[in-house]
Symmetry: C2
Subunit: 245 residues, 2 copies
DNA sequence: CTTATAATACTTGTATACAAGTATCCTTGT
DNA sequence: ACAAGGATACTTGTATACAAGTATTATAAG
């Protein structure tokens, strides 16, 4: 069938990961990128054969993917849900919810060390751009936001993030890979948004924070992901799709 | 060792559940109730022997519990984190976050059918009280809130709820079991709070909603759970505990 | 008596085997 | 030709087996 021999997920990231995690990451990328179409029914045995592992890691991966709501575990087979446009907006909702909550905590905290960490990550992102490393850039971008969330030491907010993160990571990875080729100057704007984010944290300026948050979303998420990526998913996957619901 | 032969989790609820789910539910109850102390190291093999199942369902259960943050999967063994008072407050935070978000959506929606469903659940709760069925009451209470969350059709809010729900369920179960014996009149107050909740939804009254939400939390959650339950956990588990950090 | 090294008894992760259940398809009877 | 029922080829869930790695313990040497 689909002999997709090359892996979509950056292999360096899962050097010490288990087979289950590797499969989960790769399947996630294929599903979100559209390589595996929505509606496809995944069989444990078939996946095990495809990935050349046993059913145990496959089951583990499917459980993970199901908890992220990109597949549904039914009686017979796991059916791929993919990401509808609606879901991407929902992710937007959740990020907004989390990050505004986090910021409310941040303004009551000492944030010197945090802003140092963030600055470091930002430097890394700049280097990644310099060397046209979209994956590295995306991963650092994710890390940037995770670092912020971690800083308030709220285990349940972190839980929510942990659930969201893999999908976010996929979206950003795909988005950045696309844009690094042509829309190069986008990246400097993304960097600038992150700088504003840091400034907002340092000055504990609620207004500035919200502004940068929205800039960040509007830029990276909506404009980038929803539109470009959404198209690209279809482009990459096949030629054209008709999908009007 | 600990020959806890009786099960804490209501067995009727997991009639069609898999062994893994059963183990997860039971372990969750034991951990949250304090029967299994925080810090305990759980071994897959030992658990498999205790529950008379193989390691496969145990692994599944541990994965679930880890995703709920009540255990940590480390190199050697799964260490029990339990629920600190801080964590219970964090759960409070998340519920507040979710339910206020949900309400904002609700006021833009048709809620006639929802309030009918909620009324039905409320009737069930009253019956449960009448027959002194704490478990049934607790389960319906959880269902009440889940129904509200489901009504806005936001899959990611539902995801967050799905993560939170098992722990919430445990907390409410334990709390209700304790209070149904003595603090009987508490239940009528809980019922009243839920009625206010429904009224708020019907009238789409933001103020009333927030009030009932806080009442609900303050009553069931904080006063009930954090104080009573917290003590009871310790009482139930052993005689006395010294724990001052 | 202390320290270093090796053996042992754990641990997890993966593979494989088996049982029970369900959909599909083919056969058979009308 | 068509409907009904049974065989077959799937599916999941669970059990067991195996491999690789880690901590602990015991033993032996200094």
């Amino acid at each position: 069938m689909t002999e997709t021999k090359e892996f979509l997920y950056p292999e360096k990231s899962l050097s010490k990961a288990s087979a289950g995690d590797r499969v989960a990451c790769e399947l996630r990328m294929r599903i979100i990128s559209g390589v595996i179409e929505s509606g496809t029914i995944l069989s444990e045995n078939k996946l095990a054969a495809d990935f050349a592992v046993s059913r145990s890691p496959i089951r583990e991966a499917l459980k993970i993917l199901a908890s992220e709501n990109i597949i549904r575990l039914e009686r017979m087979g796991a059916v791929v849900s993919g990401l509808t446009e609606k879901e991407i907006h929902e992710i937007y909702d959740v990020r907004l919810l989390i990050e505004t909550f986090v910021f409310e905590r941040l303004i009551k905290m000492e944030t010197k060390q945090l802003s140092r960490e963030l600055s470091k990550i930002l430097e890394m992102m700049k280097v990644a751009i310099k060397y046209r490393d979209a994956d590295e850039f995306a991963l650092q971008d994710v890390l940037f936001h995770e670092t912020i969330i971690r800083s308030i030491n709220h285990s349940h907010m972190l839980m929510i993030w942990d659930n969201l993160k893999p999908v976010m990571e996929c979206l950003i990875l795909l988005s950045m890979r696309l844009r690094i080729k042509e829309e190069y100057e986008d990246f400097t704007r993304v960097i600038r948004n992150h700088e504003i984010y840091i400034e907002a944290i340092e000055s504990k300026d609620r207004e500035l924070m919200l502004e940068s948050l929205h800039l960040n979303f509007d830029d990276v998420q909506v404009q980038g992901t929803v539109d470009d990526l959404w198209m690209s998913q279809q482009m990459l996957a096949k030629g054209a799709v008709q999908e009007n619901d």
